[in-house]
């Protein structure tokens, strides 16, 4: 039994991991774009992005996931995601990427605006170009500022992947839960928890490492 539970949880972990990685892959750059958009000179663009961030942060991720997975099928009369496991994962990644990009954008904006104006001005009077100032002066200071809040969000993302169960994606929590439903077993639930703990534990070590690496300056 232990073996088959482990097997099933590893299957679920793979899906969880896919959702996690692809969401990061898309939401990080998208979040940076949104952050720049929110600092743009164009009021209209700023307003649009602020509205988007308000809607996304103001409604449950689970609700967004349901709308994105079932909505197109009901509106267009055909399911754009296909009923396969891959389709469910794709829909989850889309919903999660939009959601997390909004949270990341706020963190990135804080990081960019947190670098004192004097840093940019010091670069300017030394004849540096805008891109030299960004890459050689402000970027690393911004990274240092965003690592702690980003580590929070990314750890939350690990656990949010369990929401994909609502559209029947076979992720880690679903896998553990299925043994309770079919066999009345509760220990696989705790075993599932151990998987999450290990996942988050590795991430925590990674973030600590990055923070230590950036500890040489203030």
């Amino acid at each position: 039994m232990f073996f088959s539970v482990t097997q099933a949880l590893l299957d679920g972990l793979l899906t969880t991991f896919q959702i996690f990685i692809f969401t990061l892959l898309f939401s990080l750059p998208l979040g940076l774009i949104l952050a720049f958009g929110e600092m743009s000179r164009w009021k209209l663009l700023r307003g649009l992005i602020q509205t988007l961030v308000w809607i996304i942060r103001g409604t449950p991720l689970m609700l967004q996931l349901i709308i994105i997975f079932y909505g197109p099928g009901l509106w267009l009369g055909q399911n754009i995601w296909s009923g396969s496991e891959a389709g469910r994962i794709t829909a989850t990644v889309v919903a999660f990427s939009i959601n997390y990009a909004c949270y990341f954008s706020v963190i990135f904006r804080g990081g960019i605006e947190g670098v004192p104006v004097g840093q940019r001005e010091a670069g300017e009077v030394l004849g540096m170009t805008k891109s030299q100032i960004f890459f050689k002066v402000t970027l690393l200071q911004m990274v240092k500022r965003v690592v702690p809040p980003m580590s929070n969000e990314i750890i939350t993302l690990v656990k949010d992947t369990s929401l994909a169960r609502i559209i029947a994606a076979y992720e880690l929590t679903f896998a553990g839960y299925s043994f309770m439903k079919s066999n009345g077993l509760t220990w696989p639930l705790f075993y599932t928890g151990v998987f999450y703990l290990l996942f988050v534990g590795i991430l925590t070590l990674l973030f600590n490492y990055i923070e230590r690496k950036l500890d040489y300056f203030r």
């Binding site: 001005e121 010091a122 670069g123 009077v125 030394l126 004849g127 050689k136 690393l140 200071q141 300056f217």
Partner: protein, 258 residues
């Protein structure tokens, strides 16, 4: 001929007039001190010279080349603006050293980035970088920081940080070096070491503009002095003359506070 000619500079922030019809000349090798209470426009004037602010009126000419003329605005390419900026060096009140670089790296960063634009950079990279490093080390030694070159800014005292900032501004060999209240952010016991360095630069006939609240220092070091109030130059002349025997009532009133 004057190195720097500033003519009729005017600047508004929204409806507030910050600078009004400010004109002065600066001779090669001279030190000019600018005094005045906070809000008198001294800092804005320095920021205009360094292209951190754009004046609404007036012109700025360095060695006969007009860098800025509000009546004949040029659609500036970033490259041109950078070249113009390099006529001036700037030392900020709050240092603004780059925290992720060592003292030496702070001094050499801009010079290395500029060197990359030289046509023969790729062939001579090693030699060019060695020269820049040697130049940076020499500057830090001149600032009395030979032992601190590999320290990061947070490992240095305020006075040491400001001296690194001075070396950084000198590294690009500006025609005119500007100081914006270089000792105002320092503890009293640390101002001396920074003033000593600036005094040394004055002895070497470095062309400088120093915005300062240190009256005794201004009187000693400057060849000329300007007193500003509410965005205008109230009085200018020989520092001893202006500080010891001010002609204007406003100057007199300001000086009684020191």
């Amino acid at each position: 001929m004057a190195v720097l000619e500033v003519k009729n500079i005017g600047k508004h922030f929204d409806s507030t007039r910050v600078l009004d019809d400010v004109s002065f000349d600066l001779e090669e090798g001279n030190a000019l001190a600018i005094i005045g209470s906070s809000g008198s426009g001294k800092t804005t004037l320095l920021r205009c010279l360094n292209f951190l602010e754009k004046p609404d009126h007036g012109s700025i000419t360095v060695r006969g080349e007009t860098l800025f003329d509000a009546d004949h605005p040029v659609k500036g390419q970033e490259r041109d603006l950078r070249t113009k900026r390099l006529h001036f060096g700037m030392v900020f009140q709050a240092f603004h050293l780059f925290p992720q670089y060592t003292a030496l790296e702070n001094v050499t960063l801009a010079e290395k980035l500029l060197a990359k634009e030289q046509p023969d950079f790729k062939q001579k990279k090693k030699q060019i970088f060695e020269e820049i490093e040697a130049h940076g080390k020499a500057l830090l030694e001149q600032m009395g920081l030979a032992e601190r070159m590999d320290h990061y800014p947070h490992q240095l005292s305020g006075g040491q940080q400001q001296r690194v900032a001075i070396a950084r501004a000198l590294a690009l060999k500006p025609d005119i070096l500007c100081f914006d209240e270089p000792t105002s952010a320092l503890d009293p016991e640390l101002t001396g070491e920074v003033l000593k360095v600036i005094r040394g630069l004055a002895k070497q006939r470095t062309t400088m503009i120093i915005v300062t609240h240190e009256m005794a220092f201004a009187r000693d070091v400057a060849d000329r002095i300007i007193f500003m109030d509410e965005g205008v130059i109230v009085e200018q002349g020989d520092p001893r003359q202006v500080i010891d025997h001010p002609k204007e009532e406003r100057t007199r009133q300001f000086l009684t506070k020191y």
